[in-house]
Amino acid sequence: MSSSTNSPTHHTSTIGAIGAPSRRNTELALLLFAVVIPVFAYANVGLAIDGKVPTGLLSYGLGLGLLAGVAHLGVRKFAPYADPLLLPLATLLNGLGLVVIWRLDQSKLLQSIGQAGNAAPRQLLYTALGIAFFVVVLIFLKDHRVLQRYTYISMFAALVLLLLPLVPGLGANIYGAKIWIKIPGLGSLQPGEFAKIVLAIFFAGYLMVKRDALALASRRFMGLYLPRGRDLGPILVVWFISILILVFETDLGTSLLFFGMFIIMLYVATERTSWIVFGLLMSAAGAVGVATFEPHVQQRVQAWLDPMKEYKLSQQGVGGHSEQSMQALWAFGSGGTLGTGLGQGHSDLIRFAANSDFILATFGEELGLAGIMAILLIYGLIVERGVRTALAARDPFGKLLAVGLSGAFALQVFVVAGGVMGLIPLTGMTMPFMAYGGSSVLANWALIGILIRISDTARRPAPAPAPSPDAEMTQVVRPS
């Protein structure tokens, strides 16, 4: 908060951000890069595969430019003081994702097994919907604190979203994880992506109210502040739900994401390290416990420990085994430091989910170590801008919501990228913005929309103090 530009004529002397730069022009300049880089990448793919600039280049460039422009105008109009980096970074990732999805559409192998072909136009449509959703969030969510009112409705909504895939006839088991629902005529939806946001709203609202009780009423034991038994209730409930997700939807990633998000928010709300210790112990106990009797989770762990064995089993036609983990590792290794160049790799060998869960492997092969490091840093920047927003927010609800969403985003990136790169067992989630899939694109644009709203509120110059109603009543005597 700078006060150097204070206008002397104004009497608001404490917070003088009247002339504080909105940074909208910075955002516009960055957006230009975020559109031009994917357009070049698109041309690059076309030249590598067909030897000519792709015919759709102009419409693709215009389309992406138009979408970015709409998003920018929305921010300029409805959130003028928002963080200038979030929108360009998300646009860049989305644009690059589109290029690589289009690149995989060109793969004869994926076409012949029905895994690609017309994914890119659809993803462009999802992107348009996502950006529309983003603008709608900015228009209708004038103040993020409004969400506080929906704390318990959010809890209910989140539970419904999480349980939907288990409803018979609605849920769909895709590649072993039951995290999808099928809507006849519309396709499939991953409600977990939306549950992420709704749960963050619930946790933020709940923790804001309960944080004092959770933080202060505790006993000290071995250097740790132990919470009272009854305060343990909420964390136990969330832990239990995470375990249920793991058992019934067999998705380690979603389970880890929700529990991790809760622990982060709990820690921020109470400032008690003991919660983190508890959280880690509970997630470890839960994961190990479930892994002992859930064959799908066990198999994922086996595939992680020995991807080569898993590959050989799948080649021998043993059911339930997948060559994907090993194929992804080969894709990364074959990319090396600088990659093969866009359009020149063979990441389509991953076959199933090459353009969704495993899209990072294509980036790894074709853009190499350099490209992946840049992409990871872009994700890192988005997360850090989100945490920065939490730091700048003036209200505890906004702080908690911003850190919850950013933390969930960071965990998701870690779980997916770590899974594809063989750092941790593979889960059924996708890279935000880059992977093919409508739910993911829509939900993550909404997430960025909320972060932008919070950052706008945080950076907005404080309005002149409202005249005190008491003062008004005592000073102004109105004759009736």
């Binding site: 590792l329 080969w330 490091m373 939490a390 960071a410």
Partner: protein
């Protein structure tokens, strides 16, 4: 709330850092291993993305490449073809889209597919000039006429067998034939119907004749009487007998030391106190068994090792190690010295024995790749002949030559005689099976010497199994004519 927020920021930063470290591990430290992993499909795709370089014999390619139609599931553009594939299979090995590659096709894969570092400059130049990457050629030492003679001889004979011919003065492999054989072009593609069926049919499980076994390099047989050449060399080198024509101290019948078992000869032949020349001429088991026993296990083993026994040869295609055992007692040594008991040799090994004798005692390292060329016939690597060892002195080698020449002139190897050429040789009939019940192996090893004293070729022939009746089988009868035709082919091609 700001202190925990800063810590969360740090934690998220650590998550990203962990991913960055993992990526460096994967794409930098482990990259080459993953990239070149033979199971990584990209290796196969690269191998068949351009026409493969050729394997060349006498200036003509014996391999080729043909473009196939690529589609979604068939991502390999070029398919290997072979000319006279069955005859050359022991040399080339195979390069199959579906089943990988072996022997020369595998060992020189870097050159043939153009990925070898030694082609880097060439490839970079091609990239700048816009030419496609192209593989280099492997020029072999083989002699087409000799190979044909060997192959035709084996085919006509019809039993399992192998022929190896060497140039004694350099170690160049001139012929390398194995029968029955297989045509690698039948499974060069990746069709699940034709190629996979052809491959399956060739497996030992389905074809008891095991046509994919390279008998010339990878099968060891009891060498039988042909091993007596090694025993004679050991006797000369260790000064047990210093000439071919001094009478040996050889009783008949001969009871092996430490036993009551008599070592018998085949038929009634003049072996009592025979000279080594006569003993080799008639193939006396008693004389050479006693020589081995007299010299002892250690000296026999040392001599056998000098001829290349007990070690693998890399031609560069690996050959199995031939066997002469250690820690044998006197009677076992006697049996081993006439090529029975544990003694076993590859056809390549016995050709090396003949070639060392013919080359005045010097054993040259056998090799089949003369040079590697880039696609524009620049030589990338040239193999220089290399001396492996000297199993016997020049003087003793000449003594042994005169003995082997007697075998062909007056003894069991008459069928290998060639007009105007001095031929030295040794027959062998090795028994095998429980109580020698199975058909014996017929061996013949020989060399040819021209009028100027030079020796252009040494050959070993083995015929494994014959439907002919047991008494008819002998090295002289079955194997010697094949050796003769191979030697003639080499001599004629030199003219």
């Amino acid at each position: 709330m700001n202190k925990p927020l800063r810590r969360i920021a740090l934690f998220c930063g650590l998550l990203v850092l962990t991913l960055l470290l993992r990526d460096n591990w994967l794409q930098y430290v482990k990259a080459d291993g993953l990239k070149d992993d033979p199971k990584n499909r990209r290796v196969t795709i690269a191998r068949y993305s351009t026409p493969r370089g050729d394997i060349i014999v006498d200036g003509n390619p014996i391999t080729g490449s043909t473009e196939t139609s690529t589609s979604g599931l068939n991502d390999l553009k070029y398919k290997r073809t072979y000319k006279n594939g069955a005859m050359w299979a022991p040399v080339t090995g195979y390069a199959s889209q579906a089943f990988g590659a072996n022997q020369l096709e595998s060992i020189e894969d870097g050159i043939l597919s153009g990925t070898d570092d030694r082609l880097f400059f060439r490839n970079t130049l091609d990239m700048i000039t816009g030419k496609d990457k192209s593989g280099g050629d492997v020029v072999t030492t083989l002699n087409e006429a000799a190979q044909k003679a060997a192959w035709n001889g084996l085919t006509k004979q019809g039993g399992k067998g192998a022929v190896v011919a060497l140039d004694p003065s350099t170690g160049k492999i001139l012929a390398l034939a194995s029968y029955p054989s297989y045509d690698p072009s039948t499974f060069a593609g990746n069709s699940t119907t034709t190629d996979a069926k052809a491959w399956q049919k060739l497996q030992k499980k389905y074809d008891p004749n095991d046509p994919m076994l390279n008998r010339a390099l990878r099968e060891t047989y009891p060498p039988g009487s042909t091993f007596k050449v090694v025993t004679a060399a050991a006797a000369l080198e260790n000064n047990l007998y210093s000439s071919a024509d001094t009478a040996t101290d050889s009783p008949l019948p001969y009871i092996m030391k430490g036993t009551t078992t008599e070592l018998k000869n085949e038929g009634n032949i003049p072996c009592k106190n025979a000279t080594m020349r006569v003993a080799l001429q008639y193939s006396c088991n008693t004389v050479f068994g006693k020589i081995g026993s007299d010299l002892g296990n250690a000296k026999m083993l040392a001599e056998a090792k000098k001829f290349g026994f007990d070690s693998e040869q890399f031609t560069p295609v690996r050959s199995s190690a031939s066997v002469f055992s250690d820690n044998m007692n006197s009677s076992q040594t006697a049996l081993s010295s006439i090529g029975q008991f544990n003694t076993a040799a590859t056809p390549l090994q016995m050709a090396m024995v003949a070639s060392a004798v013919a080359n005045d005692g010097k054993l040259m390292k056998p090799y089949m790749v003369d040079k590697l060329q880039s696609s524009n016939v620049d030589t990338i690597a040239q193999t220089e002949p290399q001396e492996l060892s000297q199993p016997l002195s020049s003087k003793n080698a000449q003594i042994l030559q005169s003995m082997m020449e007697t075998v062909v002139k007056d003894g069991t190897g008459k069928k290998a005689q060639i007009d105007g050429v001095t031929v030295g040789g040794k027959t062998g009939t090795a028994q095998h099976g429980v109580a020698n019940s199975e058909n014996p192996y017929a061996w013949f090893l020989s060399y040819a010497k021209l009028a100027d004293g030079s020796s252009p070729v040494a050959v070993a022939v083995v015929i494994e199994d014959s439907s002919a009746n047991r008494d008819d089988i002998s090295g002289g009868g079955l194997a010697a004519p094949i050796a003769k035709s191979v030697m003639e082919a080499v001599i004629n091609s030199k003219k």
